[in-house]
């Protein structure tokens, strides 16, 4: 029989059971036995390495650093639940949670625009004769301005959001004014 591989001899040295035929060869072959025993000696030498003791103040240093981090996290105003800071479940996004939430803001923009559009549509519906195409065009232009300005500013900051809300409010009020002005005209036969 040919000699088993060095891998097999290392397995034997690690205490794994070899197939019976291979094991029998190792025991009867001085060369293979020698190689296996050399592996065993290396393993023993490695096991005999002294264990390095951690410096006595290491645990305290870790705990102090961690306590500092927790305090910093709990110290954040808005009073976040302590459990989150302690457990640190997963890395939070880098922005502050109190800051602008783009999705929510977009909802406001769309909502306000839809409301204004509905009002203007109602005005057009109730006063189809008086509200000519120029009026529709003018209203559309007035509507487009805050929407565009708002969208641009949203990207930049929360201030943009408030500007948008203000702009939308102005449009809302003026469109109501428009509707009131148009109504008497439309009722005239």
């Amino acid at each position: 029989m040919t000699h088993p591989s060095d891998d097999d001899l290392q397995r034997a040295a690690d205490g794994l059971v070899l197939p019976a035929g291979v094991a029998a060869h190792v025991e009867s072959c001085p060369e293979c036995r020698g190689t296996r025993d050399a592996h065993v000696r290396l393993s023993r030498a490695l096991s005999a390495m002294p264990r390095m003791e951690a410096p006595p103040d290491l645990a305290d240093a870790v705990l102090a650093a961690w306590a500092g981090e927790r305090e910093a996290a709990v110290g954040v105003p808005a009073g976040r639940p302590a459990a989150r800071a302690l457990g640190a479940p997963r890395p939070l996004p880098s922005h502050d949670p109190e800051s602008l939430r783009p999705a929510r803001l977009l909802g406001w923009i769309v909502g306000i625009d839809v409301a204004v559009a509905a009002l203007v549509a109602a005005a057009v519906l109730f006063a189809p004769d008086a509200v000519g195409s120029w009026t529709v065009a003018a209203v559309s232009a007035v509507l487009a301005v805050p929407a565009l300005v708002g969208a641009g500013l949203t990207v930049v900051s929360a201030i943009g959001a408030w500007a948008l809300v203000a702009a939308a409010a102005v449009v809302l009020v003026s469109s109501i004014g428009l509707r009131v002005t148009l109504a008497p005209v439309s009722s005239t036969p």
Binding site: L46, M49, M52, A59, A61, L63, W66, L86, G87, R90
Partner: protein, 190 residues
């Protein structure tokens, strides 16, 4: 009965600082030995363990209890070591000189009933092995450290390194042969 690692983790996540102390005290020793054998420097080992345990405490919520905590902790230490090594510097001959100095001063020392001569021989042997280890690439060194020094099984190492069992054995066997060659270059045969 001692508190299990899993129980400690649950207590820490709920905000119990005493559990954090127990966990850190329990694992700083094994991680330090691992870190020392990987870096060959007491100073680097200390920094490595401190970083690793802090990372572990911060991300304890990410720990998956299906694995042993030891596996998770060694993995953090191992990844932290790789990151630091990439950031700091490649292995140099300077490291080898430091190994000898550190170990002579800090080795726990063999048990009391060995003779001074035997103690000196053992220390010399462990210094040579540490020197030879330092000559291996990280992935070969770590597998020897995990198997022989930290006494992890093939299976645990496979989980830790996220590699198949067969790869663990192949790499370990190659690593031992490389170590043997490195020891031969230092004119030492165990």
């Amino acid at each position: 009965m001692a508190v299990t690692d899993q129980e400690l983790v649950e207590h820490i996540v709920r905000g119990d600082p005493e559990a954090a102390r127990l966990l850190v005290e329990r694992w700083s020793g094994p991680l330090y030995n691992f870190a020392y054998r990987m870096t060959g420097s007491a100073e680097d080992a200390r920094d490595l363990v401190q970083d690793s345990l802090l990372k572990a405490l911060r991300h304890l919520g990410d720990y998956d209890p299906r694995w042993a905590l030891s596996t998770w902790l060694y993995r953090i230490a191992r990844n932290t070591h790789i990151d630091r090594r990439r950031r700091l510097r490649p292995a140099t001959e300077l490291d080898e000189e430091r190994f000898a100095g550190d170990e002579a001063g800090e080795a726990g020392g063999p048990s009391g009933f060995t003779s001074p001569l035997r103690a000196a021989l053992e220390r010399e042997e462990s210094e040579l092995i540490q020197k030879a280890l330092a000559r291996l690439r990280d992935n070969y060194r770590e597998i020897i450290v995990l198997y022989h020094f930290e006494a992890l099984s093939y299976r645990e190492i496979a989980d830790l390194l996220d590699i198949p069992l067969g790869t663990v054995m192949n790499r370990l066997f190659r690593a031992r042969n490389m170590l043997r060659e490195a020891l031969a270059e230092l004119e030492y045969t165990p």
